[in-house]
């Protein structure tokens, strides 16, 4: 696991001893106050989004964070028309399938490149790694042509296919499989497991934290993905949440309470998941960030 994780106790212990030696002085108090104020400022846009989504139209122009007469009218209005429901389902399906595919394939490739010795291994690794340098935007035109040719436009497959595997995930998993001792794999081989079984039942359970980190990144990335779904979809019922929200915002014009409701619907799921698994997600992000 990350170096940072191992050092955490030391640094915490030091902070503690320091705090005991030197009780809160003015400097520390000011520091805490400023950090707190900054933190509140950081979440203000989110707070105003939620607050406005609970306001009546005549109330949206005042600066109050707590609505005078809170209402869920905006939510019933937005959800009643059904489009947001479909966009939500589309986003959920696409993000889930892409996440499962990445977790399986990226780890399989990462494992193979890490634990097998075979001719061509280095070339395959460099080839996959080199795709990190190619920006998605360079590929959208050829992807669009492919989709048009094979009839993938406006389908789930069309939205998903570019992201089914990522070089980032492969590299991340390769790094983590380095921590799995070769002895474990040898032992499993002697026990008569075949290579597929070894990967799935021996190696995979040992890198669960990394798999979770990868899953978080891929899910969030696909949940919020915009440019490719915008290009590949053209019927309203195939939109994902970001694409739908973008078109809805244009259509709602100045009905900001409705736009904020739509924004809240597309943001709250990830925020709620984050608040539940906070420590875990932050650790995962650090792992993915530092190793990837």
């Amino acid at each position: 696991m990350a170096v940072a994780e191992e050092l955490r106790p030391t640094s915490d212990a030091l902070l503690k001893s320091k705090a005991q030696r030197r009780p809160a002085n003015l400097g520390q108090f000011v520091r805490w106050g400023l950090l707190f104020a900054g933190g509140i400022l950081m979440v203000m846009p989110i707070a105003y989004m939620i607050s406005t989504s609970l306001k009546w139209p005549h109330e949206i122009y005042n600066l109050k964070l707590i609505p005078d007469e809170p209402t869920i009218e905006n939510y019933t209005y937005v959800l009643e028309d059904g489009r947001f429901f479909w966009w939500f389902v589309n986003s959920l399906v696409i993000a889930t399938v892409t996440t499962v595919s990445n977790v399986l394939f990226d780890s399989l490739v990462g494992y193979t490149l890490c634990k097998f010795r075979f001719p061509g291994r280095y070339i395959v690794f460099i080839a996959i790694l080199s795709t990190l340098m190619i920006p998605t935007e360079m590929l959208v035109i050829p992807w669009y042509l492919m989709s048009q040719q094979f009839g993938w436009l406006d389908t789930y497959w069309g939205i998903m296919f570019p992201g089914l595997m990522t070089a980032f995930g492969t590299f991340l998993m390769k790094q983590f499989f380095e921590t799995v001792p070769d002895d474990f794999i040898e032992a499993a081989r002697i026990d008569g497991l075949n290579e597929l079984q070894i990967w799935w039942t021996v190696a995979m359970p040992l890198v669960k934290p990394a798999l979770a980190a990868l899953a978080i990144f891929v899910f969030l990335g696909n949940w919020t993905a915009f440019i490719w779904p915008l290009i590949v979809t053209n019927s309203v019922e195939m939109y994902t949440l970001p694409v739908g929200l973008s078109s809805f915002g244009d259509e709602a014009d100045v009905a900001w309470e409705l736009i904020m409701t739509g924004a809240a619907i597309s943001t709250l799921p990830t925020l709620v998941v984050f608040l539940i698994f906070q420590r875990f997600i932050i650790r995962g992000v650090v792992m993915a960030g530092l190793k990837g």
Binding site: G39, I141, L245, I259
Partner: protein, 297 residues
């Protein structure tokens, strides 16, 4: 099956390895390498998606170089980069540095700063767009009006619109950078600090002589990561200027938005492909340059 059984252990491994890699190799070839080649190929052609593809040599590139909009867009893209990267780097470092020294409600504060990273760019672009509206709608101008400061035109001004669009992009990325910085700070061995304390080194000297030099790998990572993000900015610009994408007067248009419009509004695929090749080269050059500068020193 008998054939497989006759193989040596090493040969079996080779068979398994290629079996595991078969589907991914097809994927990377068809979905990554072939399209890359195709994009470069199309950049030398004239094609409006319906008619025939005709070979035009370097025409798309010469058109691009003599297109004033392209240079405006090119400038904008670098303004996003040169403004966004240092600003977010400094803010996130300052916050991480102090947060690292704070123990009281540490987890809660960290959560507040990280929360924006979990939002969707499109949703937040619309929230900020609302903030920027003139009175009586926009939050910022309402707040200014309530304390008697004159109105600021944000998204309708050719000078203010770009920083106004950049702000939410910086805001959303801070949480990630702070977390990475804190991990970097924690990885610095405590013995260095203790030695400095015994020698009576000042806080500033510790920061400049110990903390920052040892954080260099973290800084390199954050600079490269955020630069690539700002060079590819699209979601925020598109959603905050949907009535006139990249406006007013192209003053906020980044390269990716120009690519999108050329390809999917004007259907000038060859010209758009040439722009994507330029984007690719810019990203490559900027990452290599930064890795070089920051690694060597």
């Amino acid at each position: 099956m008998r054939l497989y059984r006759d193989l040596t252990i090493r040969q079996k491994q080779i068979v398994w390895a290629w079996a595991f890699l078969a589907i991914p190799i097809v994927f990377y070839t068809v979905i990554r390498f072939y399209p890359t080649g195709n994009a470069i190929l199309i950049s030398f052609q004239d094609w409006n998606l319906l008619g025939a593809r005709t070979w035009t040599g370097l025409d798309n590139y010469t058109t691009l170089v003599s297109d004033p909009v392209f240079w405006q867009v090119f400038r904008n893209t670098f303004v996003y980069l040169l403004l966004g990267t240092p600003v977010s780097l400094v803010i996130s470092f300052v916050i991480a540095y102090h947060l690292d020294k704070t123990r009281f409600m540490h987890g809660f504060l960290r959560m507040l700063y990280f929360l924006p990273f979990m939002t969707s760019a499109v949703a937040m672009a619309w929230v900020w767009r609302w903030f920027y509206q003139p009175v009586p709608i926009g939050l910022f101008n309402n707040a200014l009006a309530s304390v008697g400061i004159p109105q600021i035109s944000f998204l309708n001004s050719t000078t203010n619109a770009l920083p106004a669009i950049l702000a939410p992009a910086v805001w959303a990325g801070l949480g990630f950078q702070i977390i990475i910085f804190m991990a970097g700070l924690r990885a610095i061995p405590r013995s260095y600090y203790e030695a400095a304390r015994i020698d009576g080194v000042s806080t500033w000297a510790v920061l400049w002589e110990i903390t920052l030099p040892l954080l260099k790998p973290t800084i390199v990572f954050i600079v490269v990561f955020s630069s690539i993000g700002f060079l590819r900015i699209f979601d925020h610009v598109f959603n905050m200027t949907t009535n006139n994408p990249g406006g007013p007067l192209n003053s906020t248009k980044p390269l990716v938005l120009m690519i999108y419009q050329t390809a999917f509004s004007s259907f000038d695929m060859g010209y758009a492909a040439a722009q994507t090749v330029v984007l690719f080269l810019v990203l490559l050059a900027v990452s290599l340059l930064q890795l070089r500068i920051l690694r060597d020193r």
